[in-house]
Amino acid sequence: MQFEPRILSFLCNWCCYAAADSAGVARFSYPPNNRVIRIMCTGRMDPQFVVEAFYVRADGVFVGG
């Protein structure tokens, strides 16, 4: 069986989250491995969020602003 990574992504409400939305509307396809958490700004990110993500066994963390 192929390894399917678990990726946690933190997306900025105004940038990447909207981009992800528009990509969906335009019917682009992208890997289904990521789980999205919407944040109001990448400046809200805290090192703790990322450490916590790895602690619950995420294989990768993507921050998009």
Binding site: A23, Y30, N33, D59, V63, G64
Partner: protein, 172 residues
């Protein structure tokens, strides 16, 4: 960059990103597992590209810990120390002050951020994480230096220095 809805939000995220990379280095997780990138609201295709590339990279890397050559138990043990570090108020204040300082000077070049963190934060990160780990290990009974090194990923000198300070504290 600089197009942020909140003016400087994504610049401030850069300081966070570098801090995270240093923590991951200390814990022994490949820093490539964490990425930060930019795509504006109009750049759907770019977002798709970024995410696809990142997913591919993680896929080739394999599951967390496996690529790093660490079993989950060790990794969990280290991540727990890292978690406590992130919750530690003293460390958070230091991190906040550094972020403020960088903001005041307004130099968000990667070199500058990396240098400032290397100087001010990395010693703290390593010391605090290793100290917490060592305390935990020693509480379980006497340990060989080899075991300590394997479990924490610290160098022998670092372990020596921390044990020394722990001893001093005990005497008091």
């Amino acid at each position: 960059m600089g197009e942020c809805h909140y003016q400087s939000g994504n610049y401030e995220a850069l300081v966070m990103a570098e801090t995270v990379r240093r923590i991951l280095d200390t814990v022994g997780i490949n820093r490539e597992r964490f990425t930060i990138d930019w795509a504006s609201a109009a750049e759907g295709p770019r977002f798709v590209k970024l995410l696809t590339e990142f997913t591919e990279k993680i896929k080739t890397m394999g599951p967390l810990g496996e690529a790093e050559g660490l079993d989950w138990e060790t990794l969990k043990f280290r991540l727990e120390a890292a978690r406590n570090l992130c919750k530690n108020m003293q460390f958070r204040a230091q991190y906040g002050n550094l972020a403020k300082e960088i903001k005041k000077l307004g130099d968000y070049s990667p070199e500058n951020i990396s240098q400032a963190i290397e100087k001010k934060l990395v010693p703290q990160i390593r010391k605090r994480i290793f100290e917490a780990e060592l305390k935990e290990l020693i509480a379980q009974g006497p340990q060989a230096v080899e075991v300590l090194r394997e479990k924490t990923g610290a160098t022998e000198e670092e372990i020596g220095a921390i044990l020394e300070t722990l001893k001093k504290k005990e005497k008091k």
